[in-house]
């Protein structure tokens, strides 16, 4: 994704809408930043060279998207914070990503399970955002969607390969899906920010998005000979409100170490 963006003032009709949009852009940006970070941990440790390279491409896409979206968030906020400032100088409680993306990378099956669930959501979300009445968001969606479609193509194929590969790969992927499933509910759990932006036709209806997500995921899992995890199980939430797992704190302390230790330095 091209990081160049206009530095023009973003026009927003009210301060409360500005706050909502800022919050919403943080959610989009933080998801990508944290997921990109987890994927980048595979670099040099992938199961085979070709896949090492593929995962790094996806990680690079997500980090590029995060940079662009958080840059936009900074403009919307209008307080002079750029993407780097938002990334390196916020505490875990101010991060707005899903818990799903902050969980440790696990084995390759876990990474693929998470990636697949996220990529299906991402394609649905970005397709819906193309219609956003907030033009900068529609522009984001147009850029992200192309990458998201490729990500889904990649993770979907791996779900099929692992699900319908060997006994071991099938079991590992099933286990990963069962473990991660409780973190999928939060994706489609709207709060007031989502509802207000939905009223403005700026963001999509999450519940409807969730229905489409579920149908797509079910179809692929079936093709991959995998069981759908118990849909009525307890679902974790809170990431969107800054109530994270302990993993995020460790992730951020690693990521932020240099700018925090040398606040006057340029790198």
């Amino acid at each position: 994704m091209n990081e160049k963006q206009s530095k023009t003032e973003v026009e927003i009709k009210s301060e409360s809408l500005r706050a909502d949009l800022f919050e919403y852009l943080l959610r989009l940006g933080d998801d990508r930043l944290v997921l990109g970070h987890r994927l980048s941990e595979w670099c040099g440790h992938g199961p085979i060279l070709e896949e090492d390279i593929a995962l790094a491409n996806v990680a690079l896409d997500f980090i590029g998207q995060a940079e662009y979206i958080l840059g936009l968030a900074g403009e919307v906020e209008g307080a002079g914070r750029d993407a780097d400032r938002l990334v390196y100088f916020r505490e875990a409680i101010d991060y707005r990503n899903l818990k799903l993306v902050e969980l440790p990378r696990g084995d390759f099956a876990f990474t693929i399970a998470r990636q697949f669930l996220f990529d299906v959501y991402d394609v649905e979300l970005m397709t819906a955002l193309l219609e956003s009445s907030f033009q900068p968001l529609a522009d984001v969606a147009a850029k992200v969607l192309k990458e998201a479609r490729y990500h889904l193509r990649h993770s979907r194929r791996w779900v099929l390969k692992l699900g319908d590969g060997t006994e071991e790969s099938h079991q590992r992927l099933q286990k990963a899906l069962n473990e991660i499933w409780m973190y999928s509910g939060e994706i489609f759990q709207p709060d007031d920010v989502d509802r207000r932006l939905w009223d403005e036709k700026m963001a999509p209806d999450l519940e409807e998005l969730g229905e489409r997500w579920k149908r797509e995921v079910e179809g692929v899992l079936e093709e991959a000979t995998l069981e759908l995890p118990d849909p009525d199980q307890y679902m974790a939430e809170g990431g969107r409100q800054g109530r994270h797992t302990e993993h995020l704190g460790h992730l951020l302390s690693e990521m932020q170490i240099l700018p925090r230790s040398y606040p006057d330095a340029k790198w």
Partner: protein
């Protein structure tokens, strides 16, 4: 393997012809190339680790993307090189086993630790700088697939050294803490980088043969001198010092003469006693072992699909 075949082969080499995989070649040429190309591939793969160590800690999103792309390139270059070696009739799997069992070598430089962010700059500047000097020569080597892989690699790597030098230059004019960090990194990496060119010509057993076959066209000492000349001037441009009290300009030859390399350290690291040898190898083994079930799954899935396709009438 008649003598006339060998003579004809040498004649072709002397005329500057490229040797292709299916051409006749002396067994020894094949062996030397497999050794050299796979060693080179292993170096790219192990070389991902010291720099990969800083991807999650890069100090800005821009630096993070650059570093990730660079380390990914190393995987790509390892991949190209393994494929070039495979044209000589050896499997990548075999080559990887040789790395993991310690039978094959890789560049010793990657057995040194990356202690601060400045190391990322200095590796790009010095280590990639040294690699470019070497690789530009190898792009002209007599074996077609190796030469083509090197041409692609050189093209893709253009940015590796420059991004490193940019980090170094930025830190060198930064805060006192940054300056200290970057000078320290230069002090640690300078001598190991000079060792990358290999032993002195007089000690290098393989060089005469490789030069006769135009696998190499310049000797270790020539390349090393070229690198020192280039780098001393760059260090001067950013105000960093080279940790060598014997460094002296020779106006006759326009060369920077440098002090004696600690060859004992060189051989020690090669023998496996460098600061990170064990760790690096262990990490590679683990990644490979933990990936085995993934590779098997993809293969099993592919054969199932193939079997299905055969069953169905077209």
């Amino acid at each position: 393997m008649s003598e006339s075949q060998e003579n004809k082969f040498q004649e072709r080499i002397d005329q500057g012809a490229k040797i292709e995989p299916r051409d006749w070649m002396p067994e020894r040429y094949r062996k030397q190339l497999i050794r050299m190309i796979s060693q080179h591939a292993h170096s790219e793969i192990v070389g991902m680790l010291p720099e990969g160590n800083w991807i999650t800690r890069a100090p800005s999103l821009k630096r993070k993307k650059i570093l990730l792309a660079k380390v990914q390139d190393e995987a790509g270059h390892g991949l190209y090189l393994y494929c070039a070696a495979e044209t000589l009739g050896v499997d990548r799997r075999e080559l990887i086993d040789q790395l993991h069992t310690g039978k094959a070598k890789y560049a010793s430089i990657f057995n040194y630790p990356t202690l601060t962010w400045a190391d990322i700059g200095v590796i790009g500047w010095l280590v990639d700088g040294a690699a470019i000097v070497n690789q530009t020569m190898l792009a002209r080597c007599s074996y077609g697939p190796y030469s083509r892989a090197m041409i692609r690699i050189c093209k893709e790597e253009n940015f590796h050294k420059v991004q490193g030098f940019e980090i170094v230059a930025t830190m060198a004019k930064g805060t006192a803490a940054q300056k200290k960090m970057v000078q320290d990194a230069v002090n640690r990496w300078w001598w190991p980088t000079l060792m990358m060119f290999g032993p002195h010509d007089s000690e290098s057993a393989n060089t005469p043969e490789l030069m006769k076959w135009k696998v190499k066209t310049k000797s270790n000492d020539e390349l090393r001198q070229r690198f020192v000349n280039l780098t001393v001037r760059q260090a001067n441009a950013v105000g960093l010092s080279i940790p060598d009290p014997h460094l002296e300009y020779d106006p006759e030859s326009d060369d920077w003469r440098f002090g004696e390399i600690d060859w004992e350290e060189f051989w020690n690291v090669i023998r496996g006693n460098g600061p990170c040898n064990r760790e690096r190898l262990q990490t590679r083994r683990e990644a490979h072992e933990e990936g085995a079930w993934v590779r098997e799954a993809a293969e099993a899935y592919a054969s199932k699909r193939k079997a299905e396709a055969l069953k169905q009438p077209a």
